[in-house]
Amino acid sequence: MIETLAAFMIKEVRHILRDRQTLTILLLMPLVQVVLFGYALRSDVRDVRLAIVDPSPDYASLALSQRFEAAKRFRIVAVAPSMGAIEPLFKRGQVDVAVSFDPEFAAHLESHEPAHVLIAVDASDPNTGSTMQTYARAVIMAYEQELGANHPQAVQIVPQVRMRFNPTLESVNLFVPGLIALVLTLVSALMTAISLSREKERGTLEILLVSPLRPWQIIIGKVLPYLGLAFANVLTALLAAWLIFHVPFRGSITLLLVESIIYSMVSLGLGVLVASLTSTQRVAMLVALLATMLPSTLLSGMVFPLASMPGILQLLSNIVPAHWFIVIARGIMLKGVGLEHLWRETLVLVGMTLFFMIAAVKSFKARVA
């Protein structure tokens, strides 16, 4: 029995190795993705283009404008006496924020009447819109505090801030676990689905089913070589993350690798299930794509924070395996926690693997019977 299984697996491995083109794509693509996105994707807001609208410049408005100039995030691209001049810039997308002073700014400040400032933000991108607003506000309020600090009665509450798990606030630390999940899903689920359904289409699967190999052995034999490939991908991705981006690895690498294997198996199981339920290669591909890639990117918390989603989607994310893996990966890499905090998530993944595998075997048996 072992020899038959081994022979079968060797054939699968040969198959994979011989298709050089696909192999290159499978090994290279994920690596390129990790590197590319690691460098390119930043979720924080930098280089905000600022327009100053100052109808009657005075020492205070100039001082506040100075503060904006000095703030690294902002870059003053235009100064005008009225909002009208700035509007066309907004329309053409050349300005992100406009700060408009009221005409008697310094005078109002001195007489302790409210001196008004308008922050106008190009909110066609509401995400960056509200962030830019918050930062602009911060600059203004800091200036206000400065003015008031000279008052003998002024109170100062000094916040001491600690950014846990990611002191440098690097975006890449957030994305890398998600990218690894994506890479694993791609290789495991898609490849298995395609490989299996191709055998089905060609008719070679029937030969296997008629042989002494049992359905579960066929599945295992198909799945293990791709597991190897997925594992290779994880290693390269993690290496890239560590060497190039200095993503921290605070927890146990062994645990991370083990969890990656478990997650791969979930994806593989899903791929097998898809293949057993669809009739042609093309359908298998499309269904696998829809069932794995889309939920993994959107509903897993990889790109979009789950907390911001409507309740239904948050519930749905619980059946997306990638979600659990991302929690685990982030926990291990960024927080340095171990199984004591992650046992529940791990159990979920193991459960999912078993579920998909059993469902796949059952569905295969149904064909033979």
Binding site: T22, P126, V158, N166, L298, P310
Partner: protein
Amino acid sequence: MRILRVLLRKEFLQIFRDKLLLRQMLMMPFIQLLVLSSAATFEVKTARVFLVDRDHSTMSHRLSGALAASGRFRIVDRAQSMKPANEAMLGRRTDMIMNIPPDFERDIVRTRTASVQLVFNAEDGALAGVTNSYAQQIIAEYARTLRPSVTSSPAIGIQTRGWYNQELDYKHYMVPGILVQLLTLVGTMMTAMNIVREREIGTLDQLNVTPLPRSAFIAAKLLPLMSIALVEFSVGLVVARWLFGVPMVGSLTLLFFCAIVYLVVALGLGLWVSTIVHTQQQAMFVSFFLLLVYLLMSGLFTPVRSMPEWAQWIAEVNPVKHFIVITRSVLLKGAGLTDILRPLGILAASGVIVLTLAVRQYSKRAA
């Protein structure tokens, strides 16, 4: 000309007979728009705060009260020491810890200075940064209220306005981007897979043996898919309007014209992909990879201007990015032709380049 007609007939017949494909085509806009636009939001809702108040004074209560009253923060738990708070953060039960030291009120009364510790879960660095900024603003506000005479101090009144999207509604922002993604998916992936499929089956050879001009073949492949993509786009726009209330301020004719230019690029890319891969499977992988790169680097999810220089250059030649800019400008800002001249020009140029490259690459005789 007649050959083109004959070919187009064949393509359309094949497409309409592929029931599975048709169903997918019709369903995709709906599913994507529904799920994506609900999911795709970075809106910061409330941040969960774990309060460690070791002072229990009026002032400390007022401070934490101010935080909670802002609507952006929600106190989910309290304790007397940092240990349970840290545990909660590790266990993902809180986003932030506010640690008020035991002599808080006394320090303020005596020295007019006190400190407060804020600990943030900075896995999402950008989010933590914004939350931090907000928290500090609230703290500063509270500090101001502690002055005996509030009115005798310089005060700046801040008003804010968001242009083009009054309520900062995410859907209005994301939906155009999702529509573009849809178009790209249909355009590039379907084109690539369609042509590679003919190669895999063997009908491509049969066509290459005929006196069929290369241009006719390519046109016959691209035109039907372009029309399908445009239909999808229209359906998507209708859904966007009715279901999500996305405003359509600008000219739809202009938008469709731009869509056609964009599709030339997307389809040309699909054509190019079909010349470099051998199987449908590879076609799918490569187009998906390209799609992913284009999408993530388009500014839809992360701002382009936060990217490093070289990445911004890539984004500059990213047709997805430009079409998203165009779509948003036309739909949300009511931009006219002159306002979008630059992105449109880049798209047109890309289209010409991609198409030329792809046509050159495609040859009836294998070298």
